[in-house]
């Protein structure tokens, strides 16, 4: 028998947990198929109705009628359930782990009460085209939530339509374009300025909206470089799209000057507030002069991340840009809520209907459970937690926090394991895989890879000091192991659902397989010669 007592380290509190993730070794669902099984029956059609309409399929012209049935798996209902419940256990949600290792993602607690409300028929079973009289409740919530966001950001108008943070950033780029178009300057003003530590979607959305992108790098102190900005602006400047605090957790103290410089050059300024968790009630976009901003309701506002959505973005703009917002907008005449489509200068539709309504509802409920003081408590505690973890982690051998040395951070910190890599040959990614052996996330996606051997930790307000201590202890332990027994770290994970993956095929067109059918054709058949 394996002696797992070893695994509980005792050099400090709390002890490390002897973790093993659920491993169900579950086949691909197609491999479970048994011909003829049914997972659910569809509603029967009344004989009388059938008789009345005759053979409807015969009305489909031959070539439009499906000939070969789709080769979907055939499984009973309990087997489908079992498959997915098992897969769920192999997935590490925030409900399960001390989820501070996916820095910039704001993995906070998603209150269950809000989820339960969002699943009521009064939300789930309403159609977006129902008569407005019959959806006053949900319109009221959306309207009221816009008022809340106005107060939080200082902006004048909001739209809740975008389906995520990046979609919201894109919408803002689109509004900037519409603004310059309305002034006849669209052709001239085709440059968007951003910073390298602003989230990549700022650059990507700007480009997608047709702009050229100018990226500023930090100055020696690690702050966005104001000189570089002054050099970059011109009569071609359409706008500035920027995250603050940046993904490094550093707040740009010259943010107002940045805005002024861009304004002076005739550009608009859009504030990516996906990292707003640490500044709720502390500082506001409009007060720094921004013309547009966006929030991620699935991050700061506590809606769950759902394995990558449903998400929701909210965009806020200053009064003069209000007319460009997507249609429809929600209006209130003192007694009724209504949807107004009659907005000739609008950029139009960003997505189907009015936004990701259940996510908006959860965000509304979250704010209403906290109020102004509670939101400020969120920010203050998140920042305190972050600086606490910073203090503790910097005591761990091999890690550093580049840039803005000695300064406080806001919502997260981008660390570097450069020294550890040099000392031991263990890379940041490997640290993450070993951390997984203790039941926590530690993600490896830190584009741009400017900070060497990066690692971003964002504690948020949702974890207790003892849980933060546990996380730090895990990282300290992995660092110890890297120094003492690097092989152990380099072969991790050992206690996960699966073992080291060979990633090579995923970048090879002749081997990659995004579906089981492709895999069967390209890999299985090739191999087994079947």
């Amino acid at each position: 028998m394996k002696d797992i007592t070893e695994e509980r380290y005792v050099d400090g509190k709390p002890k490390l947990r002897r973790f093993h993730q659920a491993r169900w070794d579950e086949p691909i669902i197609f491999e479970l198929s048994n011909e003829g099984e049914r997972g659910i029956l569809v509603p029967e059609v009344e004989e009388e109705l059938k008789g009345s309409v005759g053979d409807v399929l015969s009305r489909i012209p031959g070539k439009m009628l499906r000939k070969k049935r789709p080769e979907l798996p055939e499984l009973s209902q309990p087997r489908v359930l079992r498959h997915y419940v098992r897969l769920s256990q192999e997935t590490l949600g925030t409900d399960l782990n001390i989820d501070v290792g996916q820095g910039t993602c704001t993995m906070k607690y998603s209150p269950k009460v809000n989820e339960q409300i969002a699943r009521m028929p009064q939300v789930a079973e309403i159609h977006p085209l129902q008569d407005e009289e019959t959806v006053q409740g949900i319109l009221e919530i959306m309207y009221k939530f816009e008022q809340i966001l106005k107060e939080i950001s200082g902006m004048d108008r909001f739209s809740l339509q975008p389906g995520g943070g990046s979609a919201a950033i894109y919408a803002n780029a689109s509004i900037i374009r519409a603004y310059h178009e309305s002034r006849g300057e669209a052709d001239q003003r085709d440059e968007i300025i951003t910073t390298i530590f602003s989230h990549p979607s700022n650059a990507a959305c700007a480009r997608t909206a047709g702009f050229k992108v100018i990226t500023l790098y930090p100055n020696e102190d690690g702050y966005p470089d104001i000189q570089a900005l002054s050099a970059a602006v011109s009569e071609r400047t359409a706008g500035l799209m920027i995250t603050n605090p940046e993904d490094t957790g550093i707040f740009n103290p010259k943010i107002e000057e940045f805005v002024d410089i861009v304004h002076e050059a005739g550009g608009l300024c859009a504030y990516d507030q996906a990292n707003a968790n640490g500044i709720l009630g502390i500082t506001r976009a409009r007060d720094a002069g921004f013309d547009l901003c966006q929030f991620n309701l699935h991050k700061t506002f506590s809606a769950p991340h759902g394995c990558g959505g449903p998400a929701a973005g909210a965009i806020g703009v200053a009064d003069e840009l209000g007319k460009f917002l997507p249609v429809p907008v929600i209006e209130f005449d003192g007694s009724k809520y209504r949807l107004n489509y009659d907005r000739p200068e609008s950029i139009g539709k960003i997505r189907s209907f009015y936004g990701v309504v259940p996510v908006v509802l959860k965000a509304y409920a979250w704010v209403m459970s906290l109020g102004a003081e509670g939101l400020k408590e969120v920010a203050e505690t998140a920042v305190l937690n972050n600086n606490y973890v910073l203090k503790k982690l910097l005591e761990v051998p091999g890690v550093s926090a580049p840039y803005a040395k000695g300064k406080r951070r806001i919502e997260q910190v981008r660390y570097s394991w450069e020294k550890l890599a040099v000392d031991t040959g263990v890379h940041s990614e490997e640290i993450g895989l070993r951390a997984a052996d203790f039941g926590v996330h530690y993600w490896t996606s830190h584009h741009p890879w400017i900070v060497p051997e990066p690692c971003t930790i964002e504690p948020t307000e949702s974890y207790s000091k003892s849980e933060l201590d546990e996380y730090v202890q895990i990282i300290r332990n992995v660092s110890d192991e890297a120094y003492k027994n690097p092989e152990l770290v380099k072969t991790a994970p050992h206690n996960s659902t699966i073992h080291r993956i060979d990633h090579a095929p995923l970048d090879d067109p002749s081997q990659w397989a995004v579906t089981w059918r492709a895999y069967r054709k390209k890999v299985k058949r090739d191999k087994a010669g079947e």
Binding site: V42, P43, I60, M64, R69, P70, E71, L72, P73, V80, Y84, S88, Q89, T91, L92, D95, L96, D99, Q102, Y109, Q122, V123, I126, P128, Q130, I152, G163, G164, Y170, R177, P200, A204, C205, R207, T208, G210, D287, S302, G306, C307, K349, R351, S352, V360, A372, N387, K392, K407, R408, E461, S464, S496, I498, H503, L506, P509, V514, T515, W516, A518
Partner: protein, 465 residues
């Protein structure tokens, strides 16, 4: 016995004053304020935000929110015949059971190790959609059909290097608006007319507009107006003959009975997952899919994530990971393909559960059953005096246009009157398609019984009579 202490927030463990104090000491700060040193005093909010008084107890919060929501009337209380891009299909209980599991609900972007289940579920989702569509590549879902259509067009433009897209005139005005906004800087969208009798895409109009500038032809099946585009073959041939890509938008719930678009020449297929297990949620249940053949030139143009299967160190164990990650904006910022962000993965997993439950037989039966019901509804409604239904002489799937010109009543009036019968009538098309006159788009699905349809017919008779 002491009295209530100052509030500690249940969602904020370290809001306990003593803990805060201790942590401040650890970080060497006098007060929390010190930690915001980088934020200039001038930008610091001086007053408390002016927000509504909160409901700090869960009990009061719930009562507040549920109180507001109780003003909604639901499609369980009312009989609903609205579709038009958001459809009332039955959501199997297992779909909700799975998507409310805390593990899936609150996971995000973990590694293929700690989130193995998420990767496998999404790989399986793509694989099952692949079977339904008969295609080898399917993305991790994007926001919705609107986005999927717009991105498909931009993919086609990048692949062909061309900057014009021909779009069927029967596409919804809203979707067209999205496509235009999203393609604007690069691609011009031109509309192809439809035959006023049948609704079918007008091949002459197509022929007149297609050219060597055409990146793609985009049409939908079933069309937004409910009929089946029967000339898919011809349309795709015209596109291909001009070196253009054929993009078809499709309602996946039709694919148990309708041919997968690849059969009639589609190169890129897109659509919405909402019918496959998502509640309507006032339009909050959408998710967009894009599918292509497994050709590098297509694969490399997806902006979305693509999850592929890979071996591990252990024989017979499956691993997963990102395919060609270096095309994404995560990796390349503005040099990536469009952009990628948090979209609608959970609905992808849910659609996978849906397809696994339905299987081939379920998809066949549901498609057929929907057709039977909608045909019955068309037949019955068409008997009402002054009502023309369906407005187009074509085979239909689940939606159809009802014209009320002969009744002398406006759709708006009719729908208001139907409300008192606890019925949500079809979508008013008078603004969107003025050429169709006083018409509405009705939707009938597997949730409707004969009695429901008869109730509609009776109510309509009374209302227009």
């Amino acid at each position: 016995m002491e009295d209530e202490k100052p509030t500690v927030y249940p969602y904020i463990p370290n809001s306990v004053p003593a803990v805060k104090k201790q942590m401040l000491k650890e970080v060497g700060a006098e007060s929390v304020d010190n930690l915001f040193e980088d934020i200039p005093e001038k930008l610091r909010l001086k007053e408390k935000m002016n927000l509504p008084k909160p409901f700090v107890s869960e009990c009061a919060l719930r009562r507040h929110v549920e109180g507001i929501l109780s003003k909604n009337k639901t499609c369980r209380e009312y009989l609903n015949f609205l579709g038009a891009g958001c459809w009332q299909h039955y959501v199997p209980s297992v779909c909700d059971e799975i998507n409310q599991r805390g593990e899936f609900l609150t996971a995000y972007a973990g590694e293929p190790y700690d989130d193995h289940g998420r990767f496998q579920a999404l790989f399986e989702y793509a694989s099952m959609m692949g079977e339904l569509l008969d295609m080898d590549v399917v993305n991790v879902p994007t926001y919705d059909w609107f986005q999927a259509a717009a991105t498909s067009i931009r993919m086609a433009s990048r692949i062909t290097g061309r900057r014009e897209v021909l779009v069927s005139r029967t596409v919804s005005a809203d979707k067209l608006s999205k496509i235009r906004d999203y393609c604007k800087p690069q691609i011009e969208a031109k509309l192809i007319d439809y035959d006023p009798e049948t609704g079918q895409l007008d091949l002459d109009s197509l022929g007149a507009k297609v050219s060597s500038k055409t990146a793609a032809v985009y049409f939908e099946n079933p069309s937004y107006l409910g009929f089946i585009e029967v000339n898919g073959d011809e349309i795709s041939k015209v596109a291909h003959d001009h070196g253009a890509i054929c993009i078809v938008g499709v309602d996946p719930i039709s694919l148990g009975v309708l041919s997968p678009p690849i059969e009639y020449g589609a190169d890129i297929v897109c659509g919405d997952l909402q019918p496959l297990g998502m509640h309507m949620q006032f339009g909050g249940g959408h998710a967009g899919f894009i599918a292509t053949r497994d050709e590098e030139k297509y694969v490399m143009e997806y902006p979305s994530r693509l999850f592929g299967i890979a071996p591990t160190m252990v024989e017979g164990e499956y691993g997963f990971g990102d395919v060609a990650y270096e095309r994404t904006s995560f990796a390349l910022r503005e040099e990536g393909k469009e952009f990628v962000g948090t979209a609608a993965a959970l609905w992808g997993i849910t659609a996978g559960v849906y397809l696994a439950l339905m299987g081939p037989q379920g998809m066949l039966e549901i498609g057929k059953g929907i057709m039977q019901r909608s045909h019955y509804a068309m037949k019955e409604v068409s008997k009402i005096k002054g009502v023309r239904c369906p407005a187009f002489k074509s085979p239909h799937f689940k939606e159809f246009v009802v014209n009320f010109d002969g009744t002398g009543k406006a759709v708006r009036e009719i729908n208001k009157a139907l409300l008192s019968h606890k019925i949500f009538g079809g979508k008013d098309l008078t603004k969107e398609f003025p050429e169709l006159g006083n018409s509405a788009l009705y939707c009938v699905t597997e949730v409707h019984t004969k009695a429901d349809i008869d109730k509609l017919t009776e109510a309509l008779k009374e209302v227009v009579g």
